[in-house]
Symmetry: D3
Subunit: 256 residues, 6 copies
């Protein structure tokens, strides 16, 4: 089904399968707003439909202890969600005194993925800290975070490039990365799940890829029944389509 035809169907309200009426291979409306707040070296508001995340990138001289003297830089990430980003209020992690397992899992994924975008040797002994704070959640916060954070990271790298004393050794950017969720929903592979789909999907998979189509991370979990190799392949095909669209939008944002 050609994308333009599916859009026509969508406009006619004929697609019944997805709660949003989207076609299986149709992403939500994506917006990437740079310079969203003014203090950070990179600051991006990323929106995947109703999912909204503020991604900032902070540059600090120096690296964690395990890298000192190695000449190599570091990228690390932290993730949070405003307590009322969700439909019912969740506890404030700072007040509980503890990040949830989900938070820790997500921020490790974000950091790991972004490190794959850079040649850390060329970054020099600088640390870039990514903060992804979800102000409104509607599914896919981790993939939105990675997609937006990659843009904030590029802005931070540009700040470092301008810095004579920044000690970078050439351009550390290997490639753009982006992330999208795919899943099996009501027996069909769908792209970019929103919350109603996410909470009801049989399988939920997060795919992080480079702009040239290499896999950085694939995480697919059967929530209900196990999934087959064919389903896996169908999801990866959708993911690749979504990543391609996201990289175009990231580049447009960076060109502005």
């Amino acid at each position: 089904m050609s994308s333009s035809f599916s859009e026509q169907l969508h406009n006619l309200g004929l697609n019944k399968m997805r709660p949003s009426g989207r076609q299986p291979d149709q992403m939500r409306e994506i917006r990437i707003t740079r310079n969203f707040t003014r203090h950070a070296e990179g600051s991006v508001l990323v929106e995947f439909g109703d999912t909204k995340v503020i991604c900032t990138a902070t540059v600090d001289r120096g690296v964690p202890r395990f890298l000192r003297g190695s000449g190599s830089g570091w990228v690390t990430a932290e993730y949070g969600m405003l307590p009322r980003a969700t439909n019912s209020r969740s506890d404030r992690e700072a007040a509980r005194g503890k990040q949830t397992g989900r938070t820790i899992e997500i921020q490790r994924l974000i950091g790991r993925s972004l490190r794959a975008a850079l040649d850390l040797k060329k970054l020099g002994e600088n640390t870039i800290t990514i903060d992804c704070d979800v102000i409104q959640a509607d599914g896919g916060t981790r993939t939105a975070s990675i997609t937006g954070a990659c843009v904030a990271l590029m802005d931070a790298i540009n700040v470092l490039k301008q810095d004579k004393n920044g000690a970078m050794k050439g351009n550390p950017v290997k490639q753009m990365i982006a992330a999208v969720s795919v899943g099996i929903y009501k027996g069909e592979a769908v792209l970019d799940l929103d919350y109603p789909e996410d909470s009801d999907a049989e399988t939920d998979m997060n795919v992080i890829m480079t702009e040239s189509g290499g896999f950085i991370e694939v995480q697919g979990t059967a929530e209900g029944a196990p999934y087959t190799q064919d389903e896996l392949n169908a999801m990866l095909t959708l993911a690749r389509k979504g990543i391609d669209e996201l990289v175009v939008l990231q580049k447009q944002a960076l060109a502005e």
Copy 2:
């Protein structure tokens, strides 16, 4: 000096005292945006110049243990700041596992102030939780938080009013409250300090008042030299002017 004349001077760029060029009795531009995020019963983005805070109000049935069976409701508040809301990144409290003393002090002030806006008996056994999350800081985050949170609180009350089973006993709103900072800066009383003033002020005072001019809380701290009764009075006069302006803006926002 009449306010309109000071505004003329300001427009001419003649005021040299304040870093922003504002007159001593001139507030920053204030914006109050309701329904900023979609899940909470009340959700407000409040802006005092470059200080931007998301204030949400969440309604829950039931009250903390110490009020059960009392027939009385409760309002509580939590406060946070995105790590890069400020010029240099501060630690994420959720990751440190601990809120700072400053955070705790502020959220206690917000909760205490908002409870003064309501007749908790009329609220019935409902709890309203206020979350104030600073996404960009430029001084005065606690007063902006209280001012915005009061609007979010009104929206939440309205949701409760609509709820047949909400068990409210009449309108619990006693009055609007608002908050503003005043201080002694370079020897002169000034209204609504921004960050450059705040970090350099001799005295910093936060004033929370009702729309009818009663004091809810006055907190004035000499950062450098002690302040006199005259200086205290000058600051309170400015505060009253600021509060009046804020209440007008709160009501305008609520009327939209």
Copy 3:
């Protein structure tokens, strides 16, 4: 009403308003005992009626990281209450693993106030740590703490003065400070609230002043109805009277 006449009334048992039978402007019996324990550089037992606080001052060479190399000293404070200092036992904070918000608020206030008593530049790179531990509570523990701690601080400064290697640069003491609570109780302004008044007051205000009458900190909270400018002024007048009496007692204690 002259103070001596109110004292006569008090002696006749005619004042009915306050639970203790005190006149509105009458403080509790105040006692300041120096050298209460033997290890600390300054150790004071301060009693405001039945409120009893051990205040110690500890001198350490060196300053926190943010002051290193600045030539400036530091004063910090910690506050605690024995679990059974109060009528019903409260949890031991060390066992809970967390100080309460109230504790944190109070110890920040104590530290801030005492720093105002000194010229930190003249203190040199020394840190004075104040510990205020309430062994019996009957209202006003924070104001008693500050008043007693100021005396312990003076003793610690004297120890430093004797120390040839202490690196002080002249006398860092700018002035004595003292603290007292005032409030609106049954519609009337009263001085030095005890626990029965405190838990029932419409407004509760803590005032920290210098011996020469400058304000260090004013914190006034409406517990019930908002308070007016006139009530604020009446409370501040009482506070000034109380502070004057406290400073006399502090100086007597230091002269012994």
Copy 4:
């Protein structure tokens, strides 16, 4: 290369690629010892070569709050490593007061995977807690844990079956699951990575599958360069081979 030929090569010591001399598709020696300790309802020592994990399953009546009254059971997992299970001693998490992000990530994976082995409805309102404690680590502790824990889980289910009051509603076991790691090491897909391979692999993937070949979870991370679809497929093929072998061994152990 046929598997039997690669085994011949291996026996001849001719394979040079893997540090252990194993063929690319050759697992380490696997041992599954039931009833390893005596108190737990299920207790298994699982060994993947030098990786040794004690997996116990504990049955408790009742379920977490979010499931009460649902008629559904629950399976949860916790993971730990003795401090000196590894080459250099790691901090004891109990002493640090905090589980690492890695630990949390792993125990969430174990719990999620095992829940997929059961029909939780049929389990009734019982909770099975899996503890996986690594006493010696040489790579692949999470896949060994899941493989061993599934056996301990079956033993615990058998205990429940014997229990007249256990409130199970039929046999909750849907299928055996097992887990194995695969990766790209020196450009080639390999099965069941040991520590020297794991720390040096370009890509590391954990695959959890059912005995009938359905995917429960796929987690593949590019540590160095991104991986291609072909590499992904090669890894999944190896994983399926490993899972088949593991399920045979699990069933043999259970038949003893």
Copy 5:
């Protein structure tokens, strides 16, 4: 050597062995002050020379979960030290967020010992919480705590006896207990070690006994060389003498 002769020597200043000039079998001056603070059911200041501890006993209806419905009561203890009770300031445990191992060890010992003084069945389902807070330390804080806490416990029991609804089943007091330290110091067994002895002793032993001479707890640690059976016996003989003296003083205090 008769005790009166050793006292004569002591008065003549002839004993050279102990830093304090005390005879080997001579305790420090002991004082037990009841009703030291006014809120607790039992409140005792106990002084072993310069070691001063406030011991309070709090009565609560009900027992911890593991005793509910058993008809049996409970006694538990918490221990703390003011930060500057010692020669150099120690961290405030409430601020560190954690009790030290030493504190935990001591409070477990206190609770265990006091439970031995009572018939918990007769106590009924009441809990008595003992708080021992050291305000000045000079060695032997745990033995002073137990000795003082036993007196506070008796006062609390008396409060319960008066309470018609207290649900005690007869007198729960089996016997007085007291505690004293003994040690091997410079090769000789000594009674009631003060801090200079304690920090230099070869062996340090805490002995808790009943008034009739039964052992409740013996804890003897070789700090330097191992100790012999003869040394153990010599220490226990001294301990018995000290306990006898302490029980007399406890009873005198209770008789006042």
Copy 6:
């Protein structure tokens, strides 16, 4: 009663007093397995009957801050129990975020005891960390831990001896130590209590001794009635017998 006769009785099943049928002076079967895991400098599985503990010793260069530059080494210990080492599962301390008081007490005892086995001066500025992890518990875990840890410690010392740069100053081993529990059970002194005895004993005593019969630590607690001097002596006599047997087994293990 001669040991061989009591063994005959035991074989005849005639001893009725102890649940295990052991004679009062009979230890459980003891096994000490060296090199139990492969990474640690010393790794021992110690078994006292059904109590099984993995003891590892880790050597690190350097010492804690308070010893730096002293030329002296350090030995410290940590203790843990797998959650299902016991009959009912206990919380995982790492997940609770806190070690229990019991754990802390035990690990302090282990560390203190092992330090007594060495001349820390001769150890040089090295730290040996002992980890005792109970994989199956049946009473006496702390005494088994000390006994096994002493063997692991000897192995670690031997590794250090081999190390040219280890900076030891001669042989730091002063003597073997071992530990055993004794108690009063059903009115009789018994050696090496197992769990059924331990939970029912009137008195429980842990004794740590050197191979030459010196006391390192004696900890005896009356669980029910106080114990007498005679009972204390009877227990110490049994302990000495047990220690003698344990030291023989330790030496056998080390000779293998």
